[in-house]
């Protein structure tokens, strides 16, 4: 009953005209970012943070979360029409979605994807409502030791799953943690690696770092190819056939459950959710040979799963204060910039904000359904903007985004440095996601560990004194070892 009352209170906040406008703007910007190839959800969300700087915290978070889950809707459009994923989570949709478009069924693919995304997102939001209470109760029992161990688990999962090489993922994780050390020491307040620059006293701003690593790096990579114009296929009728609807029911139901469950696990990304859903649908299908030839199940399952994942991934952020993926880490950064610390205390201290934002997910998903079905034509027109113009517009917003965080050209320089670094790291096949997560989690991890050490007078065995902390650390070590072994086995197989 508590959950019901809370969500009613949330709707009273989310349905205010101003918050409806923020949800709409977020949904529209999110779809746009998803539609435009060359800018992913993490960089896109970071890019728009300065726009929310002067908004009230509730409005800012409503808009930014809507941008985040909106990108998952928009990414489908380019996957289906251009065979180019607007964002990584929609990459798998290219296989059957584009084949459907070539057969003149792009409209059906987009309708089913939008409906599946809506159902997946709504399902995960309902899960958040019911899991919020029990999970925050557990999280309130956590001390610095347990929080440190939980963050270690999240990072080890991400590193274990990121990229082909465990060694490279670990290097990136450690590098991100070192970047997080820049600025004032969180316990003593003494400066570290600031090189006498006042701009670095508060640490590296994560917004220019993310825009550089994800956005500018991508643009530099694209510049290697000839800057060419984009073209798009015709959408056709948006009404799916009866058979297509029938074939989509199962994948949508399974995708909702799978995506939500994977969203709960730190380190699992939206692209993993859509990939696993695709594999699962292909495996259980009576006609697996249809996959790759334009099977609607190959669109319905993954698209539902990545949206359920996007909303599901907000569950650990809201209840435990742990970001599950780089884009959620960006959202966590936005919370912190607004003076809000995501986690169990936020439910107690700012219930109106938290439940207002959660209620806005329902509204945002309805808005996205409208934006992506009857208004699909607008986004298709956007795709006709030549890349030669598009990349200049993206770079303009990147400059404004980086400058706007602190009104400083220094942040633009930071973005350029990290853009170049991200470009080079991609060439060496380094995963970028661990840098972002550790950069944002680093200060919290250090603070928790050092508080734990103060409690134990410097005795490290405190990390294993609590059964929960010990279990989390042991699981982390197992994940790291098994991932390393798998990585070694893969490289040996490649050699053979």
């Amino acid at each position: 009953m508590d959950a019901f009352q809370n969500i009613l209170m949330g709707f009273s906040v989310a349905l205010s005209p101003a918050n409806l406008l923020y949800a709409f703007l977020g949904s529209a910007f999110g779809t746009l970012i998803g539609v435009l190839p060359g800018i992913g959800p993490a960089a896109g969300t970071a890019l728009l943070i300065p726009l929310t700087a002067r908004l009230p915290p509730t409005g800012a978070i409503i808009m930014l979360t809507a941008i985040f889950y909106g990108t998952q809707y928009g990414g489908t459009i380019t996957s289906v029409l251009l065979n180019v994923p607007g964002e990584a989570a929609s990459a798998i949709t290219c296989i059957d979605g584009y084949k459907m478009a070539k057969k003149g069924r792009a409209g059906s693919a987009l309708s089913i994807a939008a409906i599946g995304s809506f159902i997946g997102g709504t399902f995960a939001t309902i899960a958040l409502i019911f899991l919020a209470g029990p999970l925050t109760k557990v999280a309130l029992e956590f001390g610095p030791v347990e929080f440190f161990s939980l963050m270690v688990l999240g990072l080890s999962l991400l590193m274990g799953l990121a990229g082909k090489s465990m060694l490279k993922a670990l290097m990136m994780g450690v590098f991100g943690l070192l970047l997080a050390m820049i600025g004032m020491d969180p316990v003593r307040g003494s400066p570290r690696f600031t090189f006498g620059r006042m701009e670095l006293m508060d640490g590296l701003n994560f917004v220019p770092v993310i825009m550089g690593l994800f956005g500018l790096a991508e643009i530099l990579e694209n510049a290697e190819e000839t800057l060419s114009n984009t073209t798009s296929a015709k959408v056709g009728s948006l009404v799916p056939s009866r058979q297509e609807v029938k074939d989509s029911v199962g994948p949508i139901a399974r995708g909702s459950l799978l995506g939500t469950l994977l969203g709960l696990i730190p380190g699992m990304t939206g692209s993993m959710a859509s990939f696993l859903s695709y594999s699962m649908e292909k495996k259980i299908s009576r006609h697996p040979e249809r996959f790759g030839e334009g099977a609607i199940e190959g669109v319905a399952g993954p698209e539902t799963a990545n949206n359920a994942h996007a909303n599901g991934a907000l569950i650990p952020l809201f209840t435990l204060g742990i970001p599950a993926s780089p884009t959620v880490a960006v959202l966590m950064g936005a919370f912190l910039m607004n003076g809000l610390i995501p986690g169990p205390f936020l439910f107690r201290e700012q219930p109106q904000l938290v439940w207002g934002v959660i209620a806005s997910f329902f509204i945002g998903n309805i808005m996205l359904l409208i934006l992506n079905l009857p208004l699909i034509g607008i986004w298709v027109k956007m795709l006709k903007i030549p890349y030669t113009i598009l990349f200049a517009i993206i770079l303009t917003f990147m400059v404004i985004g980086a400058y706007g965080v602190d009104n400083s050209a220094f942040d633009v320089i930071i973005m350029i440095i990290f853009g170049f670094l991200g470009y080079v790291l991609k060439k060496f096949d380094f995963p970028i996601a661990p840098i972002i997560l550790t950069l944002i989690l680093g200060p919290n991890m250090e603070r928790s560990l050092r508080r734990a050490m103060e409690m134990s007078q410097g005795d490290f065995s405190i990390l294993f004194a609590s059964p929960l902390s010990a279990a989390l650390l042991i699981v982390s070590v197992i994940i790291l070892i098994t991932s390393s072994l798998r990585s070694v086995a893969t490289s040996r197989r490649q050699k053979a």
Binding site: L51, V174, L178, M181, L227, T388, L395, V399, I416
Partner: protein, 160 residues
């Protein structure tokens, strides 16, 4: 690429040694627990070891077919494109405060669209004006995001 990877690994190892040395100048431990240098010491040490591991891994790895011909940076037109984009971004970072957002962004967009993108002159002019003057007024007037005016008196007097 294998050789380049090993050089990159060596650079990463040197970077970690520099951080390690800097960590030693910070307090490592005190009576109440780890000091500011504790985390940085261990992290730089781990990064150094991982870098050595990467060099070793690359040394033992058999190069893939055609890999030795691959270079870190592209050549020819592609490299010029990348350098032009980076150059334009550096121009913005260095001149935004001096020329003001509107003039620097106008020049930035004209360069990207007309010279790099080969977009026609009318479209370039329209987009560059909207992207510079238009966005300046939208961001500073409506969204309350501060964008810089020129630090040169004769430009700031006339609204730039």
């Amino acid at each position: 690429m294998r050789k380049t990877s090993m050089i990159a690994g060596a650079l990463s190892a040197i970077f970690s040694i520099i951080i390690l040395a800097a960590s030693l100048s910070m307090e490592y431990y005190s009576s109440i627990g780890p000091g500011p240098g504790f985390f940085t010491f261990w992290l730089s040490l781990i990064l150094g070891l991982l870098s050595i591991g990467w060099i070793f891994q690359e040394f033992r790895r058999k190069p893939k077919e055609g890999e030795e011909k691959k270079t870190l940076f592209p050549r020819g037109k592609s490299l010029v494109h990348e350098l032009e984009i980076l150059g334009a971004m550096i121009f913005m970072a260095l001149f935004m405060d001096i020329l003001g957002f509107q003039i620097s962004m106008f020049l930035f967009l004209v360069f990207l669209l007309l010279i790099l993108g080969k977009v026609n002159k009318v479209t370039t002019l329209v987009i560059s004006l909207i992207g510079s003057v238009g966005l300046f007024y939208i961001f500073t007037g409506w969204l309350d995001v501060q964008l810089p005016n020129s630090s040169l008196a004769f430009l700031s007097v006339i609204g730039f």
